[in-house]
Symmetry: C2
């Protein structure tokens, strides 16, 4: 299997108690059984439709033919099915045709899709996220015009941000929007690159949620507006060319099944876009989607890492090679490689990373649901926590699943490097995640430069309160107490490093303050995942005694993996803290000519 249903149930029903969401009016029609049905439906699609295309989509990547991107022919049925079954708008309101499904469940279902075949999962995901922008900020006319076909899977929706000269620096986009005289209608001109699902032949139309600058507006980020720019615009009953030309398709190391387009708008001066919301507020609108998308990228990475973990686990149980290290008799039969400590280390590393990441991501998803249904101080608290955790939920899984898929390759040895097994594909696919939706470096600066300090560190304080709660709870168990103590100590260490860095900020040494923000993000991520593992182990230990044999094994695995994380990963904070507290600003002082 490409994921563990047992673990996903553990995360949803034992760890975050997602049933508790059904107490809220908005989610009251759901219950545990309906949640399980949602997961079963996702698994069925994943197994029957997505997984069978995994290898073939990698080997037959999208091609630009006569101005149109041709994708794998198998995707057409998938996109249709996803639309028909309501996956695009499942989390939206009933009155919009949605199912008011908690994001927690939608993300859990997404995890199953992504673990089966990451590339195939992005079409529906992009449509859901981009259409959410229209319904949240757009006029009724825009909603009525564009969303029904997107929800139905007939049209594709995208987010179109990046340009050739504006990647990480979004404020430098140059795509322009010029008033036409008709209210809300603008002429669009410019180039966009790296547009996921930006063009393909499995849908009739592609609707871009596009950032552009209205001519005469403020420079920089303050002049960015959001537009709906369809590939084909509606003219009466027909769709007509809207001067959005596919200038190219990017060929990539992995994630090959997804068509990533280079788009050119307005080269014949005939591209029209429709303003979403107010002028010059585009970036703040887009950030709603980007913040959701960042959690999803963390989930993508975790899903790929999960599939790689299970592939390598299966291999390790089946492959005989060598004997136990203390066994010198060559006449004995070989043992399965899972019996070697070094192989178990590589498997525990993967399990620790992917199940620790999943737990953080499910937690963040539940925060999003609570923000949706709560009010007042409680809503504010969850909003702060999710804001703080978003760069970590995006970056920890993204960075670590590059390493965990590498451990999967290593577990298979030479076989892992060949295309006879899927792990090499997972290794290539995982590598995109530290890049898109903000590079790891950008998220480091977001965490240390913005999130940690917002409202005098209120989010940071709320986070450490949550960690402290977990520590107190765990300390009631004698077996867990030493680990709770460790987490406490490492929490203090992280806070000490934070104070040191903030003192640089206070002295106006901005460059030094943020120079190692990536390392700070790494350190904070390790602490966060250790907290999640303590929570998991607390439940596992509590339930172990009463559990039946199979569950006992499952809980034993959780307990051992928590120990692994604390023994091998948490201790990395010591080295990171040493560096982060050093005053030797070597990366700031280094000069271009010295390389």
């Amino acid at each position: 299997m490409f994921y563990s249903k047992r673990d996903l149930y553990f995360q949803l029903f034992e760890l975050v108690d997602c049933e508790s969401l059904c107490q809220y009016a908005y989610f009251q029609d759901h219950d545990k059984e309906s949640f399980k049905m949602v997961l079963d439906a996702a698994e069925s699609i994943a197994e029957k439709m997505l997984l069978p295309l995994l290898t073939d989509m990698d080997r037959n990547e999208p091609q630009l033919v006569d101005g149109k991107i041709r994708i794998h022919p198998g995707m057409k049925a998938v996109i249709k099915k996803m639309g028909e079954d309501g996956w695009v708008n499942a989390a939206f309101d009933y009155e919009e045709g949605g199912q008011q499904l908690p994001t927690t469940l939608l993300n859990a279902a997404g995890f199953i899709f992504q673990a089966a075949n990451y590339s195939s999962s992005i079409f529906t995901y992009m449509s859901g996220g981009a259409s959410n922008l229209i319904r949240t900020f757009g006029s009724k006319k825009l909603v009525d015009t564009f969303t029904p076909a997107i929800y139905a899977g007939k049209w594709q929706a995208t987010m179109a941000l990046t340009e050739p000269d504006a990647g990480s620096s979004l404020s430098d986009i140059t795509t322009s929007a010029e008033e036409t005289g008709e209210e809300g209608v603008y002429k669009i001109k410019g180039q966009k690159i790296y547009i996921s699902a930006g063009d393909h032949d499995a849908c009739e139309n592609v609707v871009h949620l596009m950032l552009a600058k209205i001519k005469g507006g403020p420079i920089g980020a303050k002049g960015i507006s959001l537009f709906v720019v369809p590939q084909k615009r509606i003219d009466g009953d027909t769709l007509v060319f809207n001067d959005v030309v596919t200038a190219g398709v990017f060929h990539k190391m992995g994630y090959k099944g997804a068509p990533i387009a280079h788009l050119s708008m307005g080269s014949s001066d005939d591209c029209y876009g429709y303003l979403v919301g107010e002028p010059h507020k585009g970036l703040s609108y887009m950030f709603q989607l980007m913040n959701e998308a960042r959690v999803t990228v963390g989930m993508n990475a975790t899903a790929i890492g999960t599939a790689a973990y299970h592939a390598s686990l299966k291999y390790a149980k089946e492959r005989p090679q060598g004997r136990k290290i203390y066994e010198k008799n060559p006449a004995l039969p070989q043992t399965a490689i899972i019996n070697h400590a070094d192989v178990k280390r590589m498997l525990l590393f993967q399990k620790a990373v992917v199940e620790g990441s999943l737990s953080l991501l499910i937690y963040c998803s539940k925060l999003a649901d609570l923000i949706h249904v709560e009010t007042g101080d409680t809503k504010e608290k969850y909003t702060f926590l999710l804001d703080l955790l978003t760069p970590i939920a995006k970056s920890y899984p993204s960075e670590m699943c590059c390493l965990s898929t590498s451990a999967a390759v290593q577990t298979l040895g030479g076989a892992g490097y060949t295309t006879d097994f899927p792990v090499e594909q997972y290794y290539r696919e995982a590598r995109i995640h530290p890049i898109h939706e903000g590079t790891t470096g950008i998220h480091g600066i977001d965490l240390l430069g913005r999130k940690i300090t917002m409202q005098n560190g209120k989010a940071t304080q709320l986070f450490f309160d949550e960690v402290e709660n977990a520590i107190q709870e765990a300390a009631n168990n004698d077996d867990l107490k030493p680990y709770a103590t460790h987490l406490k100590q490492y929490g203090l260490k992280v806070q000490d490093v934070t104070r040191h860095l903030l003192s640089l900020a206070q002295r106006g040494e901005t460059e030094k303050y943020l120079a190692d923000a990536t390392l700070y993000l790494e350190m904070f991520g390790i602490l966060t995942i250790a907290w999640q593992w303590l929570l998991q182990a607390e439940i596992a230990l509590r339930k172990m005694e009463q559990a039946h044999a199979e569950d006992k094994n499952f809980y034993q695995g959780k307990w051992m993996t928590m120990k692994y994380f604390f023994e091998y990963e948490l201790v990395k904070i010591d080295s990171l803290a040493l560096r982060l507290k050093s005053n030797n600003a070597v990366t700031v002082e280094m000069q271009s000519d010295w390389f």
Copy 2:
């Protein structure tokens, strides 16, 4: 450029003083100028013949057609040229047609070839290594029969070890050799997999140096013998089929230009092999080649990492994106990304890894030369040092260049993930090195289980003496002294960890003792590279004042990179030591059913 000639000269002529080898009679015909001519000749081939094939060989991988592996048609001219110019046997004696070139220089030239196009470099390398086994251990008849065509580049030579059921566990090979009555001639039957250059259409014949077990011999490693098994055997003046069938070609994530074969011997009971040396000594013979090959694998990884570093450095200098972190005015032009501290960090990391690795590898190469020409205690000392350092010289670059090529991808952002730039190829190619020629796990056990303890830790003591010499030398410079002190402290920490682990061995707790051998190897590798950086910085600081402007920049770069390594990498020993001294044997205790 895909490598730095200035750095290679620094490593060869300023750091290890490879000219000093010319004092020995064996190398007396060489001098600095002739060494430079060798490097120039390598660069010329690399630039004109290898680099132009880099991308194309990746995209047109070898295919098995009618039982024969077809490789890129461009390789035929390369293999011919390499043979004609004497690269196969350059290090061998004059009387054999060789040039008595020091291994140090041959490896430096190999580094240039590999940095230009790794896949294309292995044909000649395999022929050199495998033919060295014939000339060292084979009869005159074998030498006369097989080596001239190999040296000339007309025939390919290989090392054929791995089998479907015997990868890391070589003692479990089942390929059999049966006496024919004719002395030294055996009938061979079996399967070999993952044979680099094991079959291709650019040479007339392929000569396998193959491990097999003579029927009736001892079981396990003690029953392994070495044979020459040609693809076609000589029958009078012609070459005839020797029942070596190419059963398949492996398709891989990277390193695609190299044909990796699955071979089947004796399926028609007509495969003959010729014993090399004495029966049952095959493994010890093969280890000569494997030990050399392990240093070469380290060099391969370093060369790929070097090419990726220079590609990302070029991009970082040219690509404008964003403004300095303290600059809030969006109207200012964007700055080149190399001016961002986080990008400099990624570049410094790469530089620290690849130039630190290269320096260790050049040092090890010089040890090999000194072992060749020295005698008595001096020879023994160098042999011990090289034995100890071989697993590190193989594994540190192999593991770290997976991460450094990843940093190269990250430096380019989205562009790095596309096939528009070579860094994604380097990332895929680098991943083979922690696997072949012994996985990292195997080398960890080799270091901690064998090398550290051999002759009561004599090699370890010699290594720490060398480190101490560097510390003493560096301590004479006030700027370097704090770093020398740090290295001293970390050396003591590594020795402390070593004592702890050896105490487990002494108590007979073999599994616990070796469970984290991979982490021990990582820790020892970091210390070793820190030592190399201290040596480099000592020279850089000494020469900086008198240097002209360009050289001053070069030495500044060395000084800053040493600081980077000590600030960001050396400190990792703290966390590794914490884990290695823990008594929580989580990977030993973990059970298969708990995953």
